[in-house]
Amino acid sequence: MNPFWIPGQPIEIRRSGESPQAFRWEKRWHRVQDVSAHWRVHTLWWTEDEVCRDYWEVTTDSGLLSVLYRDMLSDAWHLERIYE
């Protein structure tokens, strides 16, 4: 596994269209209040570890700044990082 693209923690998600509305982490749902950034990464397609991800940097109603991503290959959402 490429050290730059560590898989995040799989999470459940509720979304509106493409963008996340809420996600479930540590047994509760956190609602997305603001999307501060959205970017897309697609690389390493020539290896077994192709990375194709849609990233979202969001702030939640619980005051968390989080980075989520949607794995475009498996269509699963993951939590990459949380800042308190």
């Binding site: 950034a37 970017w39 020539w46």
Partner: protein
Amino acid sequence: MNGYAELHCHSCFSLLDGASTPEMLVRRAAELGLPALALTDHNGLYGAVRFHTAARERGIRPIIGAEMTLADGAHLVLLAETRAGYANLCRLISRAQLEGSKDNARLKMGWLRGWTEGLIALTGCRQGPVARTLLQGQRDKALAALQRLKTLFGPEHLYVELQHHLLREDDALLADLAELSEHLGLPTAAANNVHYAYREGYRLHDVLTAIRHNASLHQAQKHLRPNSEFFLKSPEEMGALFAAYPDALDNTLRIARRCNVDLHFRAEALPPQPVATHQTPDQRLAELCRAALPKRYPQDRNAAERQLHHELRVIWETHLAGYCLLVWDIVRFAEERGIQVRGRGSAANSIVAYLLRITNVDPLAHNLLFERFLSTEARVMPDIDLDFCARRREEVIQYVYERYGEAHVGMVCNYVTYRKRSAVRDVGKALGLPPDTVDSLAKSLRWEDGLPEGVSQGIWNEFRALWEQIQGLPRHLSIHVGGMCITAKPLNGLVPLERATMPGRVVVQWDKDGVEDAGLIKLDLLSLRTLSAVEECLQLVEQNHGIRIDLDALPLDDPAVYDALQRADTIGAFQVESRAQQQALVKMKPRCFTDIVVEVAIIRPGPLLGNMVHPFFRRRQGLERVTYAHSMLKPILEETLGVIVFQEQVIRVAMVMGGFTPGEADLLRRAMSRHRAEEEMRAFRERFVLGAVSQGVSRKAAERVFSQLAGFASYGFCKSHAAAFAKTAYDTLYLRAHYPAEYTCALLNHQPMGFYPPRVVAGDAQRHGVKVLPVHVNRSEDRCTMQDGAVRLGFAYVDGLGEAAIARILKAREKGVFLSLADFCRRTRLPRRLVENLILAGGMDDWSGDRRRSLWELGRLRYTENELSLALPDNGVRLKPMTHGEELIGEVAVTGLAAEGHVMELVRDRLDQMGVSTSRDLETAKSGERVKVAGMVVVRQAPPTAKGFVFLTLEDEHGLVNVIVRPDVFQQQKAAWVGSGILVVEGRVQKASGRVDVLAEGVGGMQ
């Protein structure tokens, strides 16, 4: 306002960067409903003509532009708004290319001052001068850069480019750019910096990037784009990305509406006229032609004068007198310098060309058709190609540059594209395949053997897909062999120029198709080794026989020529020596010049033109009746027995039966040969049928004739081109028949050339009684020479003897002939190996009849290249002298030839014991007889259309044998069939239509 036009787009002509062809991009744009598309390749307009044509065909407005690299490496996009802007763009690109170093074009900002009229600038991508500084956090510098651009271009001609690729910094960057633009009162424009037409192209794009950095994808990661968003997007997708900047989208449409550049230069590009001040080009042309009439037509001149009058009028109407004079001037220069020149192609249809000595085929005598060359409705420039003596073509090219000036002359470029092997190597390396695997794949080009070693299934799938996609994409530019553009206005305002790898040479950024389609004048100045050989032969004949043969005055009915043709005795002759040609010749049995023309036209490499070739030969041999689809066609098709062979015939039929004008008929011919769209052909068909019917032809017959036309037009040959080549073939046959020694000498001095290796040419000459003398240290020159009516091989034929070594020998010999081996070594100091080769070639036979002894003596000389000391004392060793066989083999090894014998002689005794026949024996063998033949492999062909059949030609000391190997027979002993050396073939004789072949049943090799 909805909608958008893409203004920043790269094609594959951003070399090793863009992944899609201009046509693919246009097609995608049409699918997306974009009203306009710009092409902005790096520092060039390479794809502009193709792009322009494709876009116009689809009703999309093409915008011509380029992404320039500035002196500090930043990128700036320039779009041509008007024709004047286009000219400025060309000049700026040319300057950036010519004043930079090769492949490193740089535009200095200062050059823009005063040259921005008609140009619209976009501030570029993240590497643009503004975005780049913003990303570095240098807002002041960004503002200054933008201000500078505004001063140069003005607020009406500068747009701040906004790009959003869903990269992390894009939101912030756009906000900054928008703020800056507002601050300076500049409009914004959205663009996507497209590098591929469809999203899937991102893989090929990454591979190209890796190739560009000469690395694998893994190693090149930091150069790869972070995602796959750089494809041609739909208005909706762009709308979503730029929802916050609606003006930026609208402005793309505004810009598109402003830009209006048409890439057709015909009116402007007429070349400079070499005329005196009191004359027009047409008058000068007429004067030259009339003066030439008596020489070209010494007898009855009426028909010639009528034709000339007609052609001059058409030339006047199409404003092409200047062009004709231009070509005349070049031919005149060549002839004055004694440089052989022949016009070829459709120009030989013209009496003007014949009178001006551009071509040497009389169009009246050979029933040619001017309208195939030029007519008033012709929309393309006429095509004149000139073949020059290969050795001296460079002088002609220099003359053109000097006469018209460097600013007006440019070589046409050629795109070297990815082929199967290069694709394997580059894609394999990029994907990180093991180097050994890449190497073996590149050599074998087979992948049916399953997954190669060290490669996963996933990568293997990628490899195969990318290998397919990359083929045909340009890798780099080179110069087209002889194409030159000559213009009246300076070239750099019409098409950008850049450096070629050859020093001092400047090349235009378009290839020959681009140049033609844009309507520029292009001449092909090609080189033909045959012409050099012919020239040398003429000189030798003059030296040895005191006669200067005037090839122009040669009557075209020499019996020796036709005799040789009918026996297919044509090795060494131009165009008619190949195996395929020889086999056709025995069926054709040419009796007159027209027969040679047909022969040259019909037998060409490539798929056998079954529809044409077979019926023609059947009729020729009386196996089929000569019929005509309609009696109207008889005068036109008589010379080819009712079969349509020539393009000129297609045009004549269209004119005579369909009532087409000459120009329309030529358009029809061209449409047919390009496999045009259904609707277009239907329209032509209707017109033709109507025209025929109005002349009393039945509808059914008319339809049938049109179908025949359509069938032949795609591979019909240009008769004048065939005639021009047939004349050269005739000339070589004539020289070969009447001056075989001189001709052979000339041929041997211009190898490689033609279909056969020197060994076969020499062998054939010897069988015709020409004596070939081996290399001789005292009597040979560097080239082959004539000595007492024999051909003396030159030093150049000895393996390893390069220019320097030969020069040493000749210089040493100036002081006097060499007296012995030791004397030779001492005076030339050549490396031991070269002296050995000279001995083996027979060069020192005069001093010792035994070459082995000479080699041994050489060994005894204490001899280093620059030192020679005393010979060691002879210790009485007795050597077995070299046998004749060993000598022959040694000679062949070292010179490629055996001057005084044939290797096959050595094994003849053994072959006789094995019951093997000679090539001569086959002449009297009966068809169906079982036979064994043997010889050295001269030719081995497995044409793709032959369905696995392999054709071999073997050579023994008496001549050639043609062998046909069935696929199953070939497969059974494949290794033996592809082996080198002497093959012994068992099979049955097949004699049909004058041909003798051996149908092989088995093969064995021989040491």
